[in-house]
Each structure stands twice: as C-alpha cells, then as structure tokens.
C-alpha cells in the first residue's frame, strides 16, 4: 500500500515525507507492542494467593509446587498455570434441606416449608440442585420434594422410617489430592455422606436414630465418611457431621408424641396417687392416735370416777356406821324434802286403788333392781 502511494507520488519531497511519517508510525507501533508484551509478561507471571487459599502450580499441566498465601511469580504465557484452592475455608453440604438465606432470619428450603418459597428463590436453586428447568413452579417444587425426600427418608434397622436431616462440614486438607485425584469432589462428599448415614441409621432402631443414638451416629458418620474419602484420596478433611433434625415421619409424629404424653400421664397418675397416699395415711395415723388417746382419757376418767364415787361412799359409810339409824332417816327425809316440793300434784290412794296395778309404776317403795318391797 505504502509502495503504491510512493510509486504514485510524483514529488520527491512528498515521498520523503511519507516515508518519514511511516518510520515514525513504525517506531510508535513497536514501542506500543513491546509495552503490551511487557505488560502481558508481567501480568501472566505474577499472582496473589488469598489468605484462605493455597496456590497449586502446574507447568504444562504437570504439578510442580504448592504456594502459600501472598505474592508469587510463575513462568508466563501459560507455561505455568495456578489454581487457587481455599484450604482454610470450611465448606458445608446439606442433606434433606437447603439453606436459602443464612443469617439472622435464616430461610430454609425444606419439604414442609416449600409453600413459602417463591418462584424466584426456587429458580436460583435449579442449577445447584440439578433440577430440570421448568416454567411451572408447582412442577419445580415437586422435583425439589422428590429430591429432598430421597435424601432424608431412611430405613431404620427395625424396618421403620425416619426423617434424617444433617450437614457435613469439611475442609480441603490436601489441595493437590483434591484437584488431581477426584472429579466432582463435592458430589463425592454428598454421595459418600448419604451412603454412610444410611448404613448407620439402617443398622439401628428408630429410637437410636431419633433420640438415644444421635451423638454416636454423628461421630460414627464422621469417622466412616473420613475413611471413605481417604480411600478415594480426595484430600478432604471432614470437620463435622451434625444431625440437624431426626424425626419419625410427619404422619407418625403425633403417635410418637402420644407415647411421650402417655408416659407423662402415667407419671402424673402415679404422683397423684402417691400424693393422696401421703396426704391421707398420715392423717389416718393422727386420727388413730387421737382415738387411742381418747380411750386413754376415758380410762383414766372412768377409773378416777369410780375411785371418787367409791371414796365418797366410803367416807359417807364411815360416818353412817357411827349412827346408822339416825343417818338413814336423815338422808331419807332430806331427799324427800328436797324432792316433794318439786312435785306439782300429789295423789294419795288407798290399797284398793293401788292394787289396780295402774299406779304400780309410781310406787316409791319399788327398788331400782326390781327388788320386792317388804
């Protein structure tokens, strides 16, 4: 092109100018090019590793070294490439549910709360949960339901069903192994964790799954999962396995609660009975003692009375024996004089009237023991 311009330029001066301009353009171009080259060189030969990560460097695809956090150099232009692996970050996998939003008002994606989840929130999960994209939210929710159910529904050793939801927290302990030994490592964690949890829940009773065995199950699951992941050389360290919830199936739950209630009712009933027992028996003991004391009182009273009466009689007798005749008459008359004024009507009848028998009951001569008068 330039040649053509030069050929076509008739004027030597013009031609010279053109050539000179061309040289300048070339100079600037070279400079720019080398600058660009330099920048690329620099840019492709330095890298930073964030504090939570380690850098794994490969030269032509082959692993060469691992670098700590900080600023590093590598061979440029794709000769060496670096993959940063977040070894210090604790990562989490959830089973039977998913966290939609974490924080103070955490929101979860679970079968029971599925109605509350909006279409938008659900769409964010389509990829993560590996769902078939679907425009109908209801169909999408149905998919989520099936997926979550396949995770949390478990068979227990006594052939019952338990709903088990749990999380696994893990860290990458060996970034090289993590990158180069296993494809889809997070899926491997998921698969292995599910298999392990299922095996453990399947070997125990429903009670062990939902109440008494929970802590053992957690630690057993952790150990087994670690063994399995080590056998895969996955470079993964299991930090913790935690059961979030572990329940009998929704429909059976009331029956389980009923058992607890019945147990409490039983206790309550027994307590109630014991309370009554403890209330009434001591009272009865008290009352019994009262009865006995009363009897004792009666006994003392009776004996004392008797003794008193007898003493009185003996005293009187003593005086009486000194002058029986006169005392006897005096006593009789004293009594009569005391008695007779109190009687309103006094009737005196002769023997004939008396013998009619009608008045016999009034006969003063009759003795108390029914003795005959003389």
């Amino acid at each position: 092109m330039i040649e053509e311009i030069i050929e076509n330029t008739q004027n030597e001066k013009d031609a010279k100018e053109i050539i000179q301009t061309w040289r300048q353009v070339k100079k600037v171009g070279k400079l720019a090019l080398s600058g660009l080259l330099g920048a690329t060189l620099l840019w492709s030969s330095i890298y930073t590793v964030q504090p939570e990560a380690e850098g794994v460097v490969q030269r032509f695809g082959a692993y060469v070294r691992t670098t700590e956090p900080g600023f590093h150099f590598k061979a440029p232009f794709g000769i060496e490439s670096v993959t940063k692996v977040p070894v210090r970050t604790v990562q989490k996998e959830e089973f039977g549910f998913r966290t939609l939003k974490s924080g103070l008002d955490s929101q979860y994606l679970s079968v029971n709360d599925l109605d509350k989840v909006s279409a938008n929130e659900l769409n964010d999960f389509v990829k993560e949960l590996d769902l078939k994209p679907e425009r109908d939210t209801r169909a999408l929710k149905e998919q989520v339901k099936t997926l979550l159910k396949s995770e949390y529904l478990m068979l227990t050793g006594d052939l019952n069903i338990a709903d088990v939801e749990w999380i696994v927290q893990y860290q990458i302990k060996d970034p090289v192994a993590y990158l180069f030994n296993i494809k889809e490592p997070s899926n491997s964690i998921r698969d292995a964790s599910q298999a392990v949890m299922r095996r453990i829940i399947g070997n125990g009773s429903i009670d062990e799954a939902i109440t008494i065995g929970r802590i053992e199950n957690e630690s057993m699951a952790k150990a087994e999962l670690q063994t399995l992941l080590d056998q895969y050389n996955s470079g993964i360290h299991v930090v913790t396995v935690k059961l979030q919830s572990s329940n009998p199936p929704e429909r059976v739950r009331p029956a389980f609660n009923q058992v607890n209630e019945a147990m409490q009712q039983k206790e309550e009933k027994i307590n109630n009975a014991m309370q009554q027992y403890n209330n009434e028996v001591p009272r009865a003991i008290g009352e019994a003692q009262r009865t006995i004391e009363q009897a004792n009182g009666y006994a003392v009273e009776r004996v004392n009375e008797a003794q008193g009466n007898v003493d009185k009689f003996l005293k009187v007798l003593e005086e009486y024996t000194k002058a029986p005749e006169i005392t006897r008459q005096r006593l009789y008359l004293e009594t009569m004089s005391e008695l007779l004024p109190k009687i309103r009507d006094k009737v005196i009848v002769d023997d004939a009237g008396l013998n009619s028998g009608f008045y016999r009951m009034f006969n003063l001569d009759m003795q108390p023991q029914g003795g005959e008068s003389k």
């Binding site: 040649e3 030069i6 070339k26 490969q58 032509f60 695809g61 082959a62 692993y63 227990t156 050793g157 006594d158 019952n160 069903i161 296993i182 889809e184 899926n187 491997s188 698969d191 399947g202 070997n203 009773s205 009670d207 056998q231 895969y232 029956a255 389980f256 009712q265 039983k266 309550e268 009933k269 027994i270 009975a273 009554q276 027992y277 028996v281 009865a284 009352e287 009865t291 006995i292 009897a295 009666y298 006994a299 009776r302 009375e305 003794q307 007898v310 009486y320 006897r328 006593l331 009594t335 008695l339 009687i343 309103r344 006094k346 023997d351 003063l364 003795q367 108390p368 023991q369 003389k374």
Partner: protein
C-alpha cells in the same frame, strides 16, 4: 520521476515488505509443525498416542499402585510404549494423534430404580459408583467416550444391583450386622425383633462391586474397591404408607399400655392407701376399746370393792339418788300404805325391813 529517484525510493522500502508471501507461509508451516509435535498432558489426564490409527504410546497417570506395571506387562510386548507422568510431550507431527482421557476418580450416578426384595417388599434403590479409566487404550478401543462409559456402567451396575437385591430379604440390605438395637423403653424391645441377617449391607455392596468390577474390566474401566455406594434405599410410596400405619399402631399400643399402667398403678396405690387407713384406724379402735375395757373392769372392781363393804347402805343411797334424779315436776300417786307415809300413822320408819 527520474531513474535515480526511483532507486532511492526503493531503498526506503520497508524490509518486511520484501518477499512477504514465502516468508509468511514458511513461518505458518513451522508453527503448525511445531504445535503438532508437542502436546500437554494435564495432571488430571492420561493419553493414548496413535500413529495412523495404530496405538504406539500410552501415557498414564496411575490411580492405583500396580496400574502402571499391569499396563506395561500388557502392552510392551505389543510394541506400545507405556509411560507415566503429565507435562509437555513430543510426538511426530501429523502422523501421530493424541487422545486424552480423564485420570481422576469419576462419578457414575444411577437412576433410582424400583426393585422388589426377596420378601416382596418394594424399595427404591439409588446407587452411585466411583470409577476410573484403568486402561486408556482398551477404553479407547471398546468404549471411546465418557458418555459411552456411563451407558456401559448403567447396564453393568444396574443388573448387578437388581440381582443382588431381588435375591435377598429387605433386612439384609438395611442392616450391616446383628448388633442388638437399643430402645428408649423396654416395652419397645419387641419392635426390634425383626430377624437375623446372614450377610448384611456391606457384604451385598461388596458383591455388587466385585461383579461390576469384573464386568467392566473388558472396557478398561476400573471400579474403586469402596466405590459402590447405596445412596438411597427407601420404601415405595404404598409400602411407606403401610409402614407408617404400623408405626402408628405400634406407638398407640405403647401409649395405651402406659396409660393403663398409670391407671393400674394409681388404683394399686389407692388400694394400698385404703388398706393402710383401715388398718390404722381399726388397730386404733381395737387399742382404744381394750384400754376402755380395762378401765371399765378396773372401775367395776373399784366399785365392787368399795360398795361391797355395805351393799345395803349402797342400795339405800343409790335409791335416794334415783328418786332425786327421776322424780320431779310430775304427778305423784302414793298408796296409803307407802312407807313414806308410815310416819303419818306414827307406826313405822322407812328403813324398817
């Protein structure tokens, strides 16, 4: 324009513009040849080099220890070079082509399948397996691609699973060993009596692994020893309903038992209470009556002792007292011969016998 001018101008011609076509062509050719004679095997890859369709080199990156030795013994006699290690490698340009394969553990994920057990319980089985390309050359010849491999694994493992499950009772798939199960309440003990297992889950998984492994060998596919995982085993919906009904019935029965036990215990304690109260009060009554009896007897004795000193006088005094207490305010009819009136005759005194 003069001749001289033209020559001068010629000198100014940029160098790169001289013989441009040939130069560019040569450079391009060189570059292509260069690129065609090097290749990169990533740390995650293995590769097979073929020369006009005939395999000449296997570059492996062994997953298991003896994989390299096995490959060497299989192929070196056939003139195929077996080498280990990723990185930059050279080959003959154009004549040799490279096919790269994954070397990492790969995931096979089966579709959940409804399978009846030997005791005719229908369950959904969902398995997954870890596999790897053990022999890249054989893999290239028999399978070709990863997708193809998935299909082969589907066939192989699915049939192994189906055979293993249909020939066992459900319990064998659920339990691992015969460890006695724990219960919260002894009353629940009977619900754990579901029978003994003879093999158990681990054994069955091992069997599936062995069979699949053998079957996959011909494809150059290896299956990890611990690679087969039962990811899901749940009752089909209809069985689930029945099981839930049974669980409800079981628990209701236990709840009922607790309730009636509570009532029974209540009644027992109430009975004990009443017996205790009756015993206490009757004992007290007995004691009281005995005490009273003894006292009465004592009183009688005292009276007897005292009054027997002069029974006649006693009778006299008591009679007077009786009169005093019983005769008042009423009418008194007295016979003319009554001793009270004797004094009226002047004959007798009342104490005359």
């Amino acid at each position: 324009m003069s001749e001289e001018q033209t020559n001068k101008l010629q000198e100014y011609k940029p160098r790169g513009l001289r013989k441009p076509l040939i130069k560019t062509a040569l450079m391009t050719l060189g570059l292509i040849t260069g690129l065609s004679s090097v290749y990169v095997v990533d740390q995650t890859q293995q590769a097979v080099v073929t020369q006009l369709g005939r395999p000449v080199k296997v570059i492996t990156n062994p997953v298991t220890e003896n994989q390299l030795a096995e490959l060497k013994s299989t192929y070196e006699s056939k003139g195929v070079v077996v080498e280990e290690g990723p990185g930059l490698r050279f080959k003959l340009p154009f004549f040799q082509t490279v096919k790269k394969y994954e070397r990492r553990l790969l995931r096979w994920n089966g579709l959940p399948e409804e399978i009846p057990t030997k005791d005719k319980k229908y369950i959904w089985m969902d398995l997954t397996a870890r596999w790897y390309i053990a022999d890249p050359l054989k893999f290239l010849e028999t399978v070709g691609t990863s997708e193809q491999a998935q299909a082969r694994l589907d066939d192989t493992i699915d049939s192994a699973v189906r055979n293993a499950i249909t020939s066992r009772d459900l319990l064998e798939i659920v339990r691992t060993d015969n460890r006695p199960m724990q219960v919260t309440e002894e009353e629940l003990r009977e619900t754990t009596n579901v029978g003994q297992i003879y093999e158990g889950r681990t054994e069955i998984v091992k069997e599936i692994t062995m069979i699949s492994k053998e079957a996959c060998k011909q494809y150059g596919i290896g299956i990890h020893e611990e690679g087969v995982l039962i990811k899901g085993n749940i009752y089909v919906e209809s069985v689930k309903k029945t099981v839930e009904d049974r669980m409800i019935a079981e628990r209701s029965r236990i709840a009922e038992k607790y309730r009636s036990e509570g009532q029974g215990e209540y009644e027992r304690i109430m009975g004990k209470k009443e017996r205790e109260i009756k015993r206490i009060s009757s004992e007290a009554y007995r004691t009281a009556k005995t005490v009273e009896g003894i006292a009465d007897a004592e009183a009688l004795r005292i009276y007897a002792d005292g009054f027997s000193q002069d029974p006649e006088f006693y009778r006299f005094v008591r009679t007077l007292e009786l009169y005093k207490n019983s005769l008042d305010g009423s009418k008194l009819i007295i016979g003319i011969n009554n001793p009270l009136l004797n004094l009226l005759d002047g004959e007798n005194s009342p104490n005359n016998e």
